[in-house]
């Protein structure tokens, strides 16, 4: 003891230690490396956060008049300096030439400032952006027009312009009486359609002029009433009347009995009035539009889904009974549909006849009544051809077995119901469309070109130069909201990314659900059950190598194996992957062999366990490979049997050649990523398991616990935090992966979400959108990547945010677990 102390003392007193030995330079060196790494990471994050968050901030609109008299109006999105060179003179417009020459003088080049305007109005100008150099306009002539509006549209992107006119159409409702006259006149004029005697013709032609006159008088009175009710105007308001085929203002309108008035238009002018009127209706119109979208997408989608299922039933019956009936069934439905339409028209005509009897003189009454017969005949004749076709088809179908007939009958019922449902929904859609069609906003571009926009096509509009800070924040947050919960528009460069968020999260979760049990079980086997040996080492090395395989390789594997083999097999059975199935007897023989192998392997295992319990015999490692070989053989034969099964024709044979699972989809993408992240999970879990002290295992065994009880109650709880760490890593890797997804199911635009309210709720076969792929698509595949650029940043920010949230959630969970199993100090 004392010896040691002396030595320590002498060391302390020895002067002149080298810098290296004291460690100071290394502190700076290592600390510096850390600082540089941090600066790079934080810098990247800040860059993304800054660019991602400014995208949605509303910017004022500037307007300049160029030297050639043209106007440029829009948001200024970026600016830069560049060198103007002599050789650029040729590309400069004549209006600027003098100025540029003066600017350059004798110099070879000169520094020029230029700014990029986002000019929008793509439908008019064919460009979204315009660079404007400082010399192209007179200095200090730039203005910010008070009433310039930024308009976000459903189609064609932004529009920048000043409000000119706001119009609301009012339709004139035609009263029943007037309509009856119109219908009757039409009916009587259509004489050539049905068989009609000369005598009847004479009676009709005698009465027609009087009828027409009555109708016109009635109409004129109705029009006068309508105009009186609707022509009160206020300031800035005028009225246009749709008379006949032209539109005239109220002042110019001359009542004319031969002219119908379909409706009129209230028109407002003056920027402020127009803006207020527009705002008054915009929300309602938008709401109607959104409701209509739900009908179009969801309700019609559901009906189509039902129809498709009906069709697939018949197709399945075809396959089951080896018949060709689907085309006949479809043809029958088509003919029935035509007959229904004819029936409808006939009924309308008959109703007109019925009602008109009350308003016409007796001799005409008689003639019209007599016409009922020919009308019926005419329509019967129209329908006859279709009916005979149906009879032919029926005769053919009669020969089919009863179940097929039943299926076809069901099919027809489904189709009829679906047609009815579609008609109902369509009626509502048309009503909503007609209502929205009434409201029109007209804007003028800086050049003075007028453009009429339907109010419901405008997603958002605001007078950019009049906004208070509060308004700006409102718009900013609203845009974020839209971004998070809406579908994309305009080739993904506008609107939201909700489907992509949904797809990313769903895929990551399914991936976790798959990879967690597999990874943990595999690691449990490797660490807890397997005897250490060559095979286990090889497996470990292989797993570690798997982690280094480029992800695109996994994508190729996923496409080739999951989609084209596994998926095609699921769709159409062995035939679909060009495998000739075994004959039934061979297959059953194979099955018996497999069973025999399994039984032998189990017996072998039981024997080995018994042998192991007997500690008097020496341990012989090679004995354990016997059941392993048996199991492998059984597995191999089972796989072959499964591939060559003769009794299986796939689950989705009916919809072939359209693949269901035989293409990229949510399931295959999740599986591919699960495979990709499997090594991460296995390695992390193995590490966590080996960090569990052996003394715990022995302690558990000593109380009489079995192996599994020990693992479940002692080993796993202790290893959970480590396993969770592995899952976090796997999740982060999986959610951010793009390359393999491009091959196995991520798409630019998915019509349907992979998880929705239609049974079975999770549609594993569907393609999906993914944020990572979305970024790639926006940035590099978009035909208008300049306009999409801000969205790239925002989407990146969102993706980073989502991964961050997923990680934080997992880390919090892990910390809670860790606290529960915290090791005490003593």
């Amino acid at each position: 003891m004392s010896k040691k102390k002396r030595r320590g003392g002498s060391r302390l007193s020895r002067p002149g230690m080298s810098m290296m030995a004291q460690g100071e330079p290394m502190v700076w060196f290592t600390g510096g490396a850390l600082a540089i790494s941090l600066v790079m990471i934080v810098g990247l994050l800040c860059w993304i956060i800054y660019n991602g968050s400014i995208t949605f901030w509303p910017v004022p609109i500037s307007k300049v008049q160029l030297n050639d008299g043209q106007y440029v109006m829009g948001e200024i999105v970026s600016e830069e300096d560049y060198f103007l060179r002599q050789n650029m003179l040729t590309t400069i417009s004549p209006a600027d030439e003098d100025i540029v020459k003066e600017l350059l003088g004798a110099q070879e080049r000169t520094n020029v400032h230029r700014r990029q305007f986002r000019t929008g109005n793509f439908d008019i100008t064919n460009e979204h952006f315009r660079w404007v150099s400082a010399f192209e306009f007179e200095e200090n002539t730039e203005v910010q027009p008070e009433w310039a509006l930024t308009v976000e549209r459903i189609e064609w992107g932004r529009f920048y312009g000043e409000p000119v006119r706001y119009a609301v159409e009012t339709q004139r409702d035609v009263p029943d009486q007037e309509k009856l006259y119109a219908d009757l006149i039409l009916f009587l004029q259509n004489q050539f359609r049905w068989q009609i005697s000369d005598e009847q013709k004479v009676v009709i032609n005698n009465h027609l002029p009087a009828l027409v006159e009555t109708h016109q008088a009635l109409r004129a009175a109705n029009i006068a009433k309508f105009l009186e009710a609707n022509t009160k105007t206020q300031e800035n308001e005028s009225i246009e009347i749709a008379a006949g085929f032209s539109t005239v203002s109220l002042e110019e309108y001359q009542p004319d009995p031969t002219q119908d008035v379909k409706g009129l238009k209230h028109v407002w002018t003056g920027a402020e009035t127009v803006w207020q009127k527009f705002q008054g209706e915009h929300d309602n119109a938008r709401q109607r539009y959104l409701d209509r979208r739900v009908l179009e997408k969801h309700d019609i989608g559901a009906v189509n889904h039902r129809m498709e299922r009906g069709r697939l039933n018949v197709r399945q019956a075809e396959l089951d009974f080896d018949l060709r009936v689907l085309d006949d069934a479809i043809a029958k439905r088509e003919n029935l549909r035509t007959i229904e339409a004819i029936e409808l028209e006939k009924n309308a005509t008959l109703t007109t006849i019925q009602h008109s009897l009350k308003i016409i003189p007796t001799d005409l009454q008689r003639v019209v009544e007599q016409l009922t017969g020919p009308v019926n005949e005419y329509y019967a004749g129209q329908a006859a051809a279709y009916e005979s076709t149906i009879a032919d088809i029926d005769a053919k179908l009669q020969a089919c077995p009863d179940p097929v007939q039943q299926i076809i009958a069901d099919y027809l019922v489904i189709q009829e119901e679906a047609d009815k449902a579609t008609a109902d929904i369509q009626k509502e859609i048309d009503k909503s469309k007609a209502e929205n069609h009434k409201y029109k906003l007209t804007l003028a571009t800086a050049q003075g070109v007028e453009k009429e926009l339907a109010v419901d096509e405008i997603v958002r509009a605001y007078p950019a130069n009049q906004l208070t800070t509060g308004d700006k924040w409102e718009i900013y947050l609203e845009r974020w909201g839209e971004f998070l919960v809406d579908d994309p528009r305009e080739a993904n460069s506008e609107g939201g990314v909700f489907p992509a968020i949904w797809g990313t999260v769903t895929m990551t979760l399914i991936m976790c659900l798959v990879v967690a049990p597999f990874g943990v079980l595999a690691a449990l086997y490797l660490r807890e059950y397997a005897k250490d040996g060559v095979i286990v080492s090889i497996i470990r090395i292989a797993i570690n190598n798997l982690a280094g395989v480029p992800s695109i390789v996994f994508g190729v594997f996923g496409l080739g194996f999951f989609c084209y083999i596994f998926g095609a097999y699921t769709d159409g059975g062995p035939k679909a992957i060009n495998v000739t199935p075994f004959s039934s007897s061979t297959w059953i023989m194979g099955l018996l062999i497999t069973l025999a192998l399994i039984v032998t392997a189990v017996l072998c295992n039981v024997w080995l366990v018994k042998r192991k319990k007997n500690v008097r015999v020496a341990h012989k490692a090679w004995l354990y490979s016997i059941p392993a070989i048996l199991w492998c053989a059984a597995l191999a034969i089972a796989v072959v049997l499964m591939v060559k099964i003769p009794f299986f024709n796939g689950f989705f044979e009916a919809s072939l050649p359209n693949p269901t699972f035989g293409k990229g989809g949510l399931l295959w993408a999740s599986l591919t990523l699960a495979l990709l992240t499997l090594p991460v999970v296995i390695v992390a879990t193995e590490e966590a398991l080996s960090a569990v002290p052996n003394s715990l295992r022995e302690g558990s065994f000593a109380t009489g616990a079995s192996k599994w009880q020990t693992i479940r109650r002692v080993v796993l709880p202790h290893a959970t935090p480590g396993i969770m760490t592995g899952m976090v890593l796997a999740m982060a890797r999986g959610a951010g992966e793009v390359a393999p997804l491009m091959l196995v199911g991520a798409v630019k635009l998915a019509p349907e979400l992979p998880v929705d309210m239609v049974a079975p709720f999770v549609h594993l076969e569907r393609s999906f959108m993914h944020l990572g792929f979305h970024i790639y698509d926006l940035g590099f595949q978009s035909q208008n990547s300049e306009a999409a650029q801000p969205m790239v940043y925002t989407t990146t920010l969102l993706l980073v945010g989502i991964i961050f949230v997923l990680n934080i959630a997992a880390i919090l969970l892990r910390n809670r677990l860790r606290k529960r199993f915290a090791v005490g100090h003593f």
Partner: protein, 305 residues
């Protein structure tokens, strides 16, 4: 105590030649040099005192040989453990005490390379016969390890663990066992208000007593203690020694220790082992006061080791 074991370790690690001259100096005529013979690989019958014949026997060890792979660790061990008494195993480090102890509940089975010949008989049942249900066997004895190893769960769950794995769900029974075991391990008063807390939040001595509570929870016939106090301070050690004394009578206890005072204080019988051989076995007071072999006397008086 820690210095004790340190010295012993150094001795074995340095190799035995340093001991031998020392030993021969004390050799009496007519006595064989057992240590040298053992080192040369000979098996020498142990000296067993007669007193054991008057005892009620719980565990009979019968010509036990054990190999780790090709290396033999126990040679022909034969002795008997009395019921309701404390029996201690002493001997220099690496002599096979732990191995011996771990044979009793077959924890050694977990090591693949182990092979055993001979037998042990507990209460008439063979331990190594083929077909013995190891799990049932282990449930008949509790084991406490050198280092406390509480499980990553609450104190309560730690104690009732043996019942849990038997599938006991009855709350009242579990509560009762928990209290009884903790009282038995002299831990109840310290932890009765924090049964839901993690077992890992206890101090080292408390953890060791928790392990003892776990070991006696299933009411075993035997307790196997492998240096239970080696990681503890004198106060905790004293508590555990007291506990062992309380428990003897109800339980038959087999304890491994490096602390001669502890062995002589605690145990009724003592076995002295050397390099996998049993040298002497007898009542503790005889082993420590008038052992029949020179080697035992040297070891217990600290002249070697």
């Amino acid at each position: 105590m820690s210095t004790d074991s340190k010295n012993m370790n150094t001795t074995t690690e340095n190799g035995l030649p340093t001991i031998l001259p020392d030993l021969s100096a004390h050799q009496t005529e007519g006595d064989v040099d057992r240590l040298r013979l053992i080192e040369n690989g000979q098996v020498i019958p142990a000296v067993i005192h007669e007193d054991i014949n008057d005892e009620d026997i719980i565990l009979e060890i019968n010509k036990l040989n054990l190999w780790y792979g090709n290396a033999q660790a126990l040679y022909d061990i034969t002795f008997e453990v009395p019921r309701g008494k404390v029996t201690s195993l002493i001997g220099p480090s690496g002599c096979g005490k732990s191995t011996m102890l771990r044979c009793v509940n077959r924890i050694n089975d977990l090591i693949d390379s182990v092979r055993i010949e001979g037998d042990m008989i507990i209460d008439g049942d063979s331990i190594f016969a083929p077909g013995v249900d190891v799990i049932e066997l282990r449930k008949r004895m509790g084991m406490v390890f050198q280092k406390p190893n509480p499980f990553p769960m609450s104190i309560y769950e730690n104690v009732v663990y043996p019942l849990r794995i038997d599938g006991v769900r009855d709350r009242a029974e579990l509560d009762e066992v928990c209290e009884r075991s903790l009282r038995g391990a002299a831990l109840w008063d310290e932890v009765k208000d924090r049964l839901r807390e993690s077992g890992l939040s206890l101090s080292g001595g408390q953890q060791q007593r928790l392990c003892i509570a776990r070991a006696i929870a299933s009411d075993p016939e035997m307790l196997l203690l492998d240096e239970p106090c080696s990681a503890l301070d004198p106060v905790a050690t004293a508590k555990i020694e007291e506990l062992i004394q309380d428990l003897s009578g109800d339980y038959s206890i087999l304890i491994v220790t490096h602390n001669m005072q502890q062995a002589s204080r605690l145990s009724d019988y003592t076995a002295f082992m050397y390099l996998g051989n049993l040298i002497e076995f007898g009542p503790t007071y005889k082993i420590f006061s008038k052992p029949e072999t020179k080697e035992t006397e040297d070891y217990v008086t600290g002249r070697f080791g």
